[in-house]
């Protein structure tokens, strides 16, 4: 981002949700949002105990930043989380282009949804898997959890071993879409 910062000021920012929905805002950001053609005030508050909330159209929304890594955010509003990457028009264009390139040629990685220990690996390199098929047993919080593939394809590589401990988001295996 530092490289962009040296260039002239970006006038627009886009929050791209994990479901690929884009929310566009103009810079500089003010305490107002354009909403259904109207400009609506947005107020950020803090209660005496230190909880933050937004008042929006006379309703209260509890707010919490769960995760923040560079331009990637997970924000919780009323107990429901939303993930975004914040993009400039240029970075968004690049991102979309790269996604198109990647789609068919490279494997999709399956990541650990939580920290834990690998109890069993149910597939090996070259195995064919169907969407929803269990591929790894991960033990966390005393439960054995089945990790399923979210795509159909062929296992390209397995990056973990039995009895290995993994952290959240560690890559477990790569599956090439078929």
């Amino acid at each position: 981002m530092a490289r962009e910062a040296k260039k002239k000021k970006t006038t627009k920012l886009i929050a791209l949700s994990s479901t690929n929905k884009a929310y566009e805002f103009n810079r500089p950001l003010e305490k107002k949002i354009k909403y259904q053609g109207k400009v609506v005030d947005i107020k950020l508050h803090e209660d005496p105990k230190g909880f933050s909330y937004i008042v929006w159209k006379n309703k209260k929304y509890m707010l919490d930043v769960i995760e923040k890594k560079q331009n990637r955010y997970t924000i919780m509003v009323n107990g429901v989380w939303h993930s975004f990457s914040v993009e400039t028009p240029v970075s968004l264009k690049r991102k979309r282009y790269l996604e198109q390139q990647v789609d068919s040629s490279v494997g999709v990685s399956i990541e650990a949804p939580m920290p834990g220990k690998i109890i069993d690996i149910l597939v090996e390199e070259g195995s064919e898997v169907k969407e929803g098929e269990p591929i790894i047993i991960l033990e966390a919080m005393k439960m054995q959890n089945e990790i399923s593939s979210h795509i159909s394809g062929v296992v390209q590589s397995v990056s973990v071993k039995k009895n290995e401990s993994v952290m959240k988001d560690d890559i477990l295996m790569e599956i090439k879409r078929s």
Binding site: A5, K9, T10, I66, Y73, W81
Partner: protein
């Protein structure tokens, strides 16, 4: 014998719950400190802390280390041990070691725990008492082949259950023959891990039943009463997410029939202490005995709310040898109570555990709202223990009113720092079949399509907030090109000042 001191072989909210009653009864409470949670709240509530955080045997978790717990209890000359739930609560060896060491085990005798904990013996007792049962394996199934054979005989779907189990662990439903081998090994592994006993048995699986359980209280003089039922059908993978008492499915005649059956089961082993008899209830109101839990349950507060009886107090009095101070006709169910389990789980990712620190927690308690919790500001959710943060218990005159008050209480229950099941609770409350009391154990998989309540503007506000924070950093970077705040958490109250 009057109990003057209790060692609580447990942690978290149940340790605090037991301490509260002990304090009320003038009993000294002792708890165990572990290296996994050296700053936990329950440690401060107790009269005395026994430190297990040093020289511990890594192969045995602290709360499962029978010999060390017994040795400590003897060293500190405590009169009794309360096991809480989970851990050693249903371990007959632990109860036996207490008995041998002249320490009162607050629960039933080791023989009772053994017989009820052994699922096949328990089923035999139920059969002899004339209580309806489901078909299944006569004992533990020794291997996947035997599981395949028995399942073939009674017909799919079947359920594999840990013989020493509870709490949904070591339990797998198998719908097709091709899955039996894999599910058998999952269930035995999990059972071995969780209960140190890999035995599983197999049973006919009833599709879409209700899960109804009866609270029993029995003394050592042969007096047995039931305190009504708890409706526990809203579950995910056999883990209860909320419970209510009474159940919308029972009328007084069915309650009497099931209550009488529960008492028969208890009498068949000369049960004493608090216990719970679990039944499955099918859509034609046929019930069958599942198992008896010989301990206090997580969901005991809903029974306490509708009966006005302190179950921990009764357990202690029964352990002292007292007679029950009431008879069945004295037990009145007053109003409606619901318990919402607030867990550190990511509802949006299939209820996976969400570890982290509870930065802040806040709720409103009043005559209708009770909160049992073991966490406070700064508490850490570790991978070593279960993911429960709190139990939010609502009590009102009617179910409708209890649901209405639940919505308000959930909106006022604030937790900062971790993902929780609160949005799930809101989604359940919005569901019309739940509101009508029309649901069973398939509620989550079939009826509640979206497991969290989400309003359209919330995504927009979250997007704005993320963008706002990012823009603020960009502004700083544009002013000072070499400076970066990447990776550093932004706190909303700092932002608030910048928003002005």
């Amino acid at each position: 014998m009057k109990i003057k001191s209790i060692l609580i072989a447990n942690r978290g909210e149940i340790a605090i719950r037991i301490i509260k009653t002990a304090r009320k009864m003038g009993i000294r409470s002792y708890v165990i400190k572990t290296a996994k949670e050296p700053n936990a709240w329950y440690l401060e509530e107790a009269d005395k802390v026994i430190d297990f955080s040093e020289n511990f045997d890594e192969s045995i978790p602290e709360f499962l280390d029978i010999e060390r717990i017994i040795k400590s209890a003897k060293k500190h000359k405590v009169d009794a041990i309360h096991p809480g739930y989970g851990f050693l609560a249903e371990n007959p060896d632990f109860a036996r070691r207490c008995e041998e060491s002249k320490i009162i085990f607050i629960g039933p005798s080791h023989e009772i725990i053994y017989r009820m904990g052994h699922k096949t013996i328990a089923k035999e007792l139920a059969r002899e008492s004339g209580v309806p049962l489901l078909g299944g394996s006569p004992g533990a199934v020794s291997d996947a082949e035997e599981a395949r054979r028995v399942a073939g005989e009674i017909g799919y779907p079947v359920i594999l259950k840990a013989a020493a189990g509870g709490g949904g662990r070591g339990m797998r439903v198998v719908s097709r023959e091709k899955d039996i081998e894999r599910m058998f090994s999952l269930a035995t592994n999990e059972a071995a891990k969780a209960f140190n006993n890999p035995d599983v048995f197999l049973e006919k699986f009833v599709r879409e039943p209700r899960h109804i359980e009866f609270q029993i209280l029995a003394d050592q003089h042969g007096n047995v009463v039931h305190l009504g039922e708890r409706e526990c059908s809203v579950q995910r993978k056999h883990q209860k997410l909320l419970e209510e008492s009474p159940s919308p499915a029972l009328n007084s005649s069915l309650r009497k029939k099931m209550g009488d059956a529960a008492i028969k089961i208890a009498r068949s082993v000369n049960y004493y202490s608090a216990g719970t008899v679990e039944f499955l209830l099918d859509s034609d109101n046929n019930f069958s005995f599942m198992e008896m839990n010989t301990r206090i349950q997580v969901e005991h507060p809903v029974t306490e709310m509708v009966t006005g009886i302190d179950l921990i107090e009764q357990m202690i009095l029964i352990a002292e040898g007292e007679k029950l101070p009431f008879k069945q006709k004295d037990i009145k169910l007053n109003g409606w109570a619901i318990e919402w389990r607030i867990n550190a789980e990511d509802v949006q990712s299939g209820f996976s555990p969400s570890l982290g620190t509870i930065e802040k927690i806040s709720w409103v308690e009043n005559e209708h709202v009770r909160v049992d919790t073991g966490v406070r500001d700064g508490s850490v959710i570790t991978p070593y223990f279960d993911s429960m943060i709190a139990k939010l218990i609502i009590h009102a005159e009617t179910r409708e009113r209890a649901l209405q008050l639940s919505s308000q209480a959930i909106m006022k229950f604030w937790i900062k720092g971790t993902k929780t099941t609160l949005a799930f609770c809101r989604a359940v409350l919005q569901n019309s079949n739940f509101r009508k009391g029309n649901f069973n154990t398939s509620f989550l998989s079939k009826e509640l399509k979206i497991h969290y309540q989400n309003e359209p503007d919330e995504a927009l506000l979250a997007a704005f907030f993320a963008t706002y924070d990012y823009a603020r950093e960009m502004n700083e970077n544009e002013e000072k090109p070499l400076h970066t705040e990447n990776g550093k958490a932004i706190t909303p109250w700092v932002l608030k000042k910048r928003l002005r």
